[in-house]
Amino acid sequence: MPRRINITRRRLLAGAAATGLAAPSIVRAQGTGARAPLKVGVLLPRSGFEASIGQDCQRGVDIAPAILRSLGLPELTVMNADTESNVDVARQRAEKLINDGAQLLIGAFDSGQTTAIAQVAEQKGIPLVINIAAAPDITEQGYKFVFRNFPTAPMILGDAFENQMELFRIIGSAPKSVVFMHVNDTFGTAMAKGINAVMPKFNVPYKIVDEIAYDPTARDLSVEVAKAKGSNADALLLVSRLNDAMLITRELVKQRWTPQAILSMGPGWYEDQYLKTLGKLSDGPISFVPFEDPNKKLAKSLQAALAKAYPGLNLSTNHVYTFEALLIAADAYKRAGTSDPKGLADAIRTTNITDNVSIGPGIQFNAKGQNDKLKNGAIQNRGGKLATLAPKAAANAKPEWPMGSYANRT
């Protein structure tokens, strides 16, 4: 805590310099021994408007060390930094972490903050493993030290339609028309832009009768839902966030409309808080999202670790991919046998982890640093738990279709 507030410029610089300059020497001292823990800087938006997600991701970080140890992977020293949901702070924190000796960076959920960090990482030659960020551009910039183990918006869309088609085959029916509602933020817009390009590649049986974009800071979605209801579509196709997913559900109940299905292609509808807050009303929606494969061994141990550390919490996408980023780091460190950033980056490039948590064949990166093998799952809310419906390899339940009327639940 600052003792006094009237700090002169000189004293301020001196103070900052003292904290800043001391760090690199520690790195050099530790960097020589291969067995020393790898210093991993984790940048997450833990305050500001993305605090909720950032702090959820952080849980994935907190439960990771024990699991990694049990896998026989080398120790990691995690250095946490808060980006405050702000691009410039993200950049400054990244510089600070590297300065304090971080040998690898992980972050940062938000595409803007991630890009700002990516530049620092690239410039310093420190590998960055992106936990979550869907903007396609990030891995199209020619970065050499930036890796992303998360699907891009077009990948998410492609898988969503593939899984929907599989679902419709299993059920033997499909909606004829949908209304497409999406939040007008970075992710929502990227998805909305991608949909026209991706959808024609699949023989999707329904037509989009209306597209409704809404404000990410919307306080009230009654108009949006009334408009959707007025379009008389069979089902709702959505890209939303947690808070608006809850708002939309409430409005559906109050406006007495239960669509045949709620098909979500983003966060919100399967998240823990959604299930907890809405109780019985949370049942039914199907989410087509990057998710865990519940049949994988590591997924089970991650679930167990989470249940122990945060009882009552369901595993979320945030936990899964943040954990996997640390997994990638530890794995690369083990194989590289050095904390030299260049060596680490080369090791990451040749990553081939098949025993992972998320759906799909495993973790590999293409030349651009993107894991293009990632697969989404289709998951449905059932009695406060999540059931995986597709793809076949990860499925553990049959779909409930059409969803039960909201009117009969209370």
């Binding site: 600052p2 507030i5 410029r9 800043g20 691009v87 400054q92 300065n99 903007a135 817009t189």
Partner: protein, 349 residues
């Protein structure tokens, strides 16, 4: 004859240069010299992290100086300066990303747009007698318009964000603003120094006196024959154009733009905190304010890291408390207080 013409051509510039430093006390010149010299050699002394912090400091010193023209000189409270940053950022970035046009040329395109935007807001406000808090809200409204508008503007990729191609770090390309932090540091240092000199020149010129008159008492200024509408318009437009350069810098430094980030009200607030804390209407105020605020934020981070206290939000609470204490204890800002302490006189303008 030739010598004489060239002398008479150079003469006004010399006179301007001299007039910039006449009636400046020796301490002030010494202070300025020390400040500039230490800022110039800084890249050799500090690591990249501190350099980034200093870039942020100078960025806010620059925008604070530009904002101060409107508020500190002409007395018009703008809470929507993010609009000029955003316009500068988007125009320069789009020109570069789509047509490969260098940001310096891009800035030439930014100037008329920023000036026109400032002129529009100014014209509406001053013609329709929107003043004080109402003017402040009007400026917010325009920044919000821009935010929502850009959120829907497909040409700049709407809210999905605009990304600049990756910077080549191997060499510093000043012309295309691609390079390492040291290059960006000198760019923003030059900009901040330029803004300082321009502001001082403006303040000591006829227009500066007229602005001060308007700030002090608009009706009395009119009675003294000052066409207040015209000079207020000039203040908005000059401030807008200078601020818009900060946007160009922002776009090329961070390499990505999201309307939600650049046009956000919190951006406008960040811009004005420095000059208010430092001392409104003074030339050193915005610089000092930027140092104090960014330094404070980093210091709090470092202090919390040192004691191993990792609680999201705690830093902001302490930061808020510090702001509160400063504004309660030093109503005129830190600089006028400090200037009295160290015996440097900057007349209370």
């Amino acid at each position: 004859m030739a010598a004489k013409t060239s002398a008479s051509f150079v003469d006004p510039f010399i006179r301007i240069a001299v007039s910039l430093f006449e009636d400046v006390s020796r301490q002030t010149i010494a202070l300025l010299g020390i400040l500039l010299a230490s800022l110039l050699i800084v890249p050799w002394l500090v690591n990249d992290y501190l350099l980034t912090v200093l870039i942020v400091v100078l960025y806010f010193a620059f925008t604070g100086q530009a904002w101060n023209i409107m508020m500190g000189f002409a007395g018009q409270l703008s809470l929507g300066h993010a609009i000029y940053v955003g316009l500068g950022a988007y125009i320069a970035a789009v020109l570069f990303a789509r047509f490969g046009i260098a940001p310096w040329i891009g800035f030439l395109a930014v100037i008329p747009v920023a000036a026109a935007c400032g002129a529009t807001i100014g014209f509406l406000a001053f013609r329709f007698r929107v003043a004080g808090v109402y003017f402040a809200i009007l400026t917010i409204a325009f920044a919000e318009f821009a935010r929502i508008g850009f959120d829907h503007l497909d040409y700049v990729n709407a809210s999905a964000g605009l990304f600049l191609p990756v910077a080549q770090y191997a060499r510093n390309d000043l012309w295309h603003l691609r390079g390492n932090p040291t290059m960006f540091y000198y760019v923003i240092l030059a900009a901040a120094a330029f803004a300082f000199v321009v502001c001082r020149a403006l303040l000591k010129s006829r227009i500066g006196y007229f602005w001060l008159a308007i700030r002090e008492d608009e009706q009395a200024a009119r009675a003294a024959g000052i066409d207040t509408f015209r000079y207020k318009m000039a203040a908005v437009m000059i401030s807008a154009v200078i601020t818009s350069f900060a946007g160009v810098f922002y776009a090329f430094f961070y390499n990505n733009l999201f309307p939600e980030q650049v046009f956000n009200i919190s951006r406008s607030i960040e811009i004005i905190l420095g000059p208010i804390i430092g001392g409104i209407g003074t030339l050193f105020g915005p610089i000092l304010g930027a140092f104090v605020l960014t330094g404070l934020a980093e210091l709090l981070n470092a202090a919390m890291a040192a004691i191993g206290f990792d609680l999201p939000g705690a830093k902001q609470v302490f930061y808020g408390i510090c702001l509160l204490l400063v504004v309660v204890a030093l109503p005129e800002g830190v600089w006028p207080w400090l200037a009295r302490r160290i015996g440097v006189s900057e007349s209370r303008q």
